[in-house]
């Protein structure tokens, strides 16, 4: 199981799912229509490190963060 958490304004409780890669996470998240428009503009962190590769392998207990558009300052 991995955990997917939704940061800032997304306002959605964390999900737990079985997934071997980020591509599998993507497929599962897209089943929720409300998330599709967020996913287009969100970046992704794996265990608090930003990631850029859908083939990134996942292991038990991994934590995936979904980061919507930012505006600090």
């Amino acid at each position: 199981m991995v955990t997917v958490e939704f940061l800032g304004p997304i306002g959605k409780a964390p999900l737990q799912m079985e997934a071997a890669t980020l591509a599998e996470v993507a497929a599962k998240l897209k089943e929720d229509e409300a998330l599709v428009s967020w996913l287009q503009k969100c970046a992704v962190a794996l265990n608090d490190t930003m990631v850029n590769d859908l083939n990134t392998p996942l292991k038990e207990g991994d934590r995936i963060s979904i980061l919507p558009p930012v505006c600090g300052g």
């Binding site: 940061l7 800032g8 503009k41 992704v44 850029n52 963060s65 505006c71 300052g73």
Partner: protein
Amino acid sequence: MELYNGPLDVKEIFGRWLDEEAESNYGAYIPFVGTIRAEDGIDALSFDIYEPVLKAWFDAWQERAKERGAVVKMAHAIGDVPVHTSSYISAVFSPKRRVALELIDEFVEDFKANAPIWKYDVRNGERIYAEDRSTPMDGAGLLA
């Protein structure tokens, strides 16, 4: 890196950073102070921060600055920050002015683009995500 609940004590932070580097022999100190503007009828802005990724972003910048002989510092507010108070201070110290002037620009612009901080307008007690002013981070859309 310093995070505070509510507005920053700008003078305290500016002065303490000055004192911290008083003997470091830096010739240039450039802070950037961000203050909440009264506009569009807002009472305050409000901020969420994801601290672990912000810390990693800041640590990477500290390394980048070090390679150029410089130091960067940063403070940001969490939660509500009323109009005309400050939410953000960053700063560069470096031996020479040219590096300091270039770094403060790069540091502040990359902060705006990639620091994991979410901004909300506060109007009549309601907190509304400032979506139109927000920027997708580098690598956004990976799961789309």
